[in-house]
Symmetry: C3
Subunit: 345 residues, 3 copies
């Protein structure tokens, strides 16, 4: 798709400095953008890249200076970052135009489909499934019986929603994510053989939730595994049965939350973090990447380490961990000197 500076300026209500007919066909960061790309400059920090940027059109905040006699086209706005964000939203809505029901797809006659939805070829929608308005169900999606999908939700190719699970409105679930697989529940007998405990609960996902590629969210043993409104999960995250992830919590890739744990609101959990089962994390907790949380955690805690401890304490201890050979050496020398003294004394 190609757009002229004039079109863009109109959309973001900006003022053109340069040639209004300059056209662009893609986006780029100011330090990487090539010819024919649109970029933006919103922050003093990136000003140094402005001189050499090959971008053809540059959206710039009004507090930043435009070089004199520049061949490139500028669009001056109040806040270049906000303008760019709006533009990207517009671009996405223009380019993600899939619509209609493609064939062959398998939609059970009892399913209720909202208006203006897209169902890709080879998608499977089971009995009594309810899908809201404006949803996009990509190819190879599987939605089993009695599941509910809220308005404006996008399920990318290959998402699997097991029976009776509920996904809210305005959610995005990326390819390969699995919602509602069985929780990991087994009862050992006296011979060490494990017997399955049926998992008859479900998964309930709130509104404005984004779930990354290849995440797995297990259904509850009984009741629900719950992902509250506004939660953002990166890729390959594991959420076990009966977990609750609180509102607006953000979790980075490859983290795992063990069974029945309650994560509070507005947590920020780093990549590859493990959280043990049956514990409770408060609100506004920060956990550094690769940490292992294995106890209840108060609001506003900052954690690091495996097992996790206060982040600043962990950093201090780790400084001395690095120095352990030196520390040991010092101790040995002191011991020697002391014994020497004693002999001499």
């Amino acid at each position: 798709m190609e757009f002229t500076a004039a079109q863009i300026a109109e959309w973001i209500e900006g003022e053109i400095i340069g040639d209004a007919n300059t056209s662009v066909s893609g986006f780029g960061k100011i330090e990487e953008a090539g010819e024919g790309a649109l970029t933006f400059l919103a922050n003093e920090k990136y000003k140094a890249y402005l001189k050499d940027s090959k971008a053809s059109v540059i959206i710039i905040s009004e507090n930043l200076a435009i070089p004199d006699n520049d061949a490139r086209t500028f669009i001056r706005v109040k806040d270049a970052y906000a303008a760019m964000t709006r533009l990207l939203d517009l671009y996405k809505s223009l380019t993600q135009q899939k619509s209609g029901i493609e064939q062959p797809s398998s939609i059970h006659e009892s399913a209720e489909l909202g208006e203006d939805i897209y169902v890709g070829a080879f998608a499977y929608i089971g009995k009594n499934v309810k899908i809201g308005d404006n949803c996009k169900i990509y190819p190879h999606v599987f939605i089993d019986d009695n599941a509910v999908i809220g308005d404006n939700t996008v399920l990318y190719s290959g998402v699997k929603i097991y029976d009776n699970c509920v996904v809210g409105k305005n959610c995005i679930i990326h390819s390969g994510a699995i919602i509602g697989s069985d929780g990991f529940g087994f009862q050992p007998d006296q011979n060490g053989v494990f017997h399955k405990v049926q998992q008859v609960g479900n998964v309930v996902i709130g509104n404005q939730v984004e779930i990354g590629a290849c995440c797995t969210i297990d259904r509850a043993t009984m009741g629900s595994t719950t992902i509250e409104d506004g939660v953002k999960l990166d890729n390959q995250i594991q959420v076990a049965h009966n977990v609750t992830v609180g509102k607006n919590t953000v979790i980075a890739a490859q983290a795992g939350i063990a069974g029945s744990t309650k994560i509070g609101q507005n947590n920020m959990i780093g990549g590859q973090v493990g959280v043990a089962g049956h514990i409770k994390l408060g609100d506004f907790v920060h956990v550094q990447a690769q940490s292992g949380v294995n106890g209840n955690i108060a609001d506003h805690s900052k954690l690091y380490g495996s097992p996790a401890m206060d982040a600043s304490d962990f950093r201090k201890s780790y400084v001395y961990f690095r120095k352990l050979p030196e520390l040991m050496n010092k101790l040995n020398q002191l011991d020697k000197k002391f014994n020497q003294e004693r002999k001499n004394g």
Copy 2:
């Protein structure tokens, strides 16, 4: 689905105390169950929740007291936990009734299908594949040429079984699991370029095995990657080529086992654990979450840490790790005092 207390009592051979016509439409844990739910109380530990539980029907072990004049309906049995488990099995068998061959599906004419199997729409079954009786092959499953699936096995939507792999009887494999992808084998040349070593072995999975969502089990270079009877794998576990996982071993989510390693029987391996390649773990080994095992391990060992060591030694060392700043401080003070003494003396 709705059931009355009378129906439930009959199935589990219990005695009704209260209104036999009370009906329930779901299950709940005693502390969470809402009106219209069935719950159970088997353990003194949870007795405190009994008073306020909103469950409509409560299965209760005969050694626990039923409150006087209670409006709720109770079903008295010898062992409420066992009764509940039986009920959940029954419920699952009633609700998971998929059957028949849905269209369009792609089943090669040379494939041998057992009796009473379910094949979902968009499932793909290749040449010479053998599928046992009562199997459930959900939509979007791919079973490549010459693979074998034993009786009563369930492959959920999107499971991929590469060619020549073998899955036993009574197995459950969850969505997104990949069985038989190539092992990670490359030979570097003198220029640091890696050349693929073809992986011509397979994966052999025993009976009563459960494999979680998005697990990946690579085929052997030659021979077989082997998952023995009764193994239970949680979600997102990686099993590399030529690994053996011994009977009744249980592995938690996001753990990874590197190539050619042999895991013994009845191990319990925690979440996010890494096990190095070409080593051997004995039987009844326990590994704490996030540990990294990198050497041969004796039977009944308990491990923790990365790299892993004896679990109780790790815990002791970690106590002092937390105190390292304090320890360093003490050492410095002692050194100072000593030098002071020397000067003075």
Copy 3:
């Protein structure tokens, strides 16, 4: 498939010692191979297994001795490992013969398909997609609009390629891998609510790249996430938006690379490693399994630990970590002795 020793000897230009009519139907490692299997012996280290190997045909390097009066058939070649590798390549090309366009599949009329390609049933190929010659697109693959796939590339069942992504020539992508899902980019507002930053870049994968099962490679915010030529990724690896992985770098399973990080050439990154965002690793860097890299790294560095440090320093520190209780004890005793002396003195 069955082959005789005579056929095999012809393919690898070897000399038969024994019965040229002996036939084999599979491959095995020398220590595991059963009757009817072909094996090889290239390395003195494995010589001990020769005597008892049940293999029917053994390819053997010319510098190794063949037992006298042996009932088995040997094929003598200069380099048995190289001969075996060639044979495995041949075997793979003979057995992986899928061809043609299976039905039903969904191929947009605007897509350009190369010659001699395989498209499996239920594969989905979107608008303006370009697929090179000799590609194999397995069942349930999804290739969205404007994506490009180079010659001779294999996409196994269930691979998902989002729109506008580019895959090079001679690549292999295993089942469940997701290429081009949205990068994890959100902007928080003053209420702690996160707003999506549209991800309008793509993923560009070079030639001779292998990507394991259930890997996830996110598209760039703007510009490209780049996997250079010859990179080999094991299973379940996460590559975030705007990352570059340099030529011939090899990454083991379950590692994760956070956003905007640049990995140099010929790195070897262990399993479950985490690499922080916005950093730069040089060339020929080795990172031990489970390490956490959180700063810029010079060429040829060897790293270990979380957070990562020089590998040999980490090993030394860890030796003392194990001895921390002992070290603490020694310090306490010294302190006691010192105080005792002082009192006495």
